[in-house]
């Protein structure tokens, strides 16, 4: 094998563009999954099973099927229904939707982990439902929810290369384009492989610091 540093430096500008797209997809995907996951959790707590049952089935289905196929589904089927988004928007929606079915479990576990006594105290003080949630339950749940959510952010990062398959030029897409133009696979693919390790390691360090802040 020959390692060519000039190919690495030629790839770097493309790598930077790819990194920006990857981080954009990650940030927006996280936002969608965090908020949509909360919506699923709250819907699963409604008293009627006519809401719980469909939400449960849909989320279970989304969780157990490949993100890649969901991506194709959104990318090719939404335009048929008259909803045309850019490739990146579709990708962000798909990642957000896919991971919202994971974050809903995190929220559920976080809410269930709040001691029953807290609920009972809120009832005893006859707090209205809104204040029970905002002032008593959620502040305690957030603390338990942050570490697992952070883990999902990291797995989302590692799922962003899938967007390449619907023509988004994130890191792997850039690497593939570059290698097809220059017939060099080794350098670009290795560079982004290392970049993924570095970014996910930095993210995990950041998360650990955040966790320590919250637990204190």
């Amino acid at each position: 094998m020959t390692w060519d540093w000039s190919a690495v430096s030629a790839f770097l500008p493309h790598f930077r563009d790819g990194l920006v797209v990857t981080l954009q997809a990650l940030a927006l995907g996280s936002l969608i999954s965090f908020s949509l996951g909360l919506v699923w959790t709250l819907l699963m707590r409604t008293p009627t099973r006519w809401v719980r049952w469909p939400v449960g089935v849909v989320t279970e289905f989304v969780r157990n099927t490949p993100l890649l196929v969901q991506l194709f589904f959104l990318f090719y089927v939404l335009p048929e229904w008259g909803l045309a988004f850019s490739a990146l928007t579709t990708g962000v929606l798909a990642i957000g939707l896919h991971y919202s079915t994971y974050t809903m479990q995190v929220y559920r576990a976080g809410i269930e982990a709040v001691p029953v006594g807290q609920w009972e105290a809120a009832t005893a003080l006859s707090l209205p439902a809104r204040r029970t949630w905002c002032a008593v339950i959620l502040p305690q749940a957030v603390r338990r929810v942050v570490p697992p959510l952070g883990n999902y952010v990291i797995s989302m990062l590692k799922d962003t290369p899938v967007l390449m398959s619907i023509t988004v030029l994130e890191m792997l897409g850039q690497a593939r384009l570059f290698s097809q133009q220059h017939f060099r696979f080794t350098e670009p693919v290795t560079v982004i492989g290392v970049a993924f390790i570095v970014v996910s390691y930095l993210a995990s360090v950041l998360l650990r610091t955040l966790e320590r802040r919250l637990v204190r």
Binding site: M1, F61, N64, T65, P66, L67, L68, V69, Q70, F72, F73, Y76, V77, E80, L157, K158, D159, T160, P161, V162, M164, S165, L172, A175, R176, S179, F185, T186, V189, T190, I192, G193, F196, I197, S200, Y201
Partner: protein
């Protein structure tokens, strides 16, 4: 759909299942070896196993697949058959996640069990095989089942390199028929059914293994 297209989809599904079974086996082997190595007495073994998990959990599975499919042939001068290349990439990546499950479950076994083994003069190998693993394995099954479903979803990634798995043949059928909604719904349902079967099988296995443990508190 014409019979020819059905044939294509069935062959794709067969490839996906083959890939799932092979990479599942490799994943299990890697997970056990690396997971046990992380509890080793020698720091060098622990360090290497830790490095392995960090590196393979740090990269994306898809990047790993690209690496095995496109960089490895250039680097080594020979190329793996797509099925084995996919197996290698997926097995090694998901094996690193599995290693963490194994390590966690081994750590969760009551320390007194290990000490009991020492007191009775068991060798480290016997302790692992006769005392620790029989208690740790049932604990691993739920997370292992989740990991298998993740692996199933991961097998769809190989279609990006042009390997004819279920997702790939679905794309071909879409090109032939120009009906995205139907095809992709079928595809998702097939994946869901496979995932469902995995979950059921694992639940049965867990019950069998737990029953074999007898009255361990």
């Amino acid at each position: 759909m014409t019979p020819g297209l059905w044939d294509l989809v069935l062959r794709g599904a067969w490839t996906t299942i083959q890939l799932l079974v092979l990479s599942g086996l490799l994943m299990t082997a890697v997970a056990l070896v690396v997971g046990v190595a992380r509890t080793s007495r020698h720091w060098s073994v622990r360090f290497l196993a830790g490095l392995y998990t960090e590196v393979f959990r740090g990269t994306s599975a898809l990047v790993m697949i690209f690496w095995v499919f496109f960089v490895l042939p250039v680097a080594l001068g020979w190329q793996l058959v797509p099925l084995w290349a996919g197996t290698l990439a997926l097995g090694l990546t998901y094996g690193a996640y599995g290693a963490e499950i194994v390590r966690g479950a081994l750590g969760a076994v009551d320390p007194a069990q290990r000490e009991g083994g020492v007191a009775l003069g068991f060798t480290p190998g016997q302790r692992l095989r006769l005392i620790l693993l029989p208690q740790a394995v049932p604990e691993m099954i739920p997370s292992y089942c989740n990991l298998l479903v993740e692996l199933l979803k991961g097998t769809a990634l190989v279609s990006v390199t042009g390997m004819g798995d279920l997702a790939f043949s679905g794309n071909l059928v879409r090109l032939a028929l120009q009906e995205s909604a139907h095809i992709y719904t079928y595809l998702l349902v097939v994946y869901f059914v496979i995932a469902f079967v995995i979950t059921r099988l694992m639940r049965g296995l867990e019950r069998r293994l737990k029953a074999g443990l007898g009255g361990v508190a």
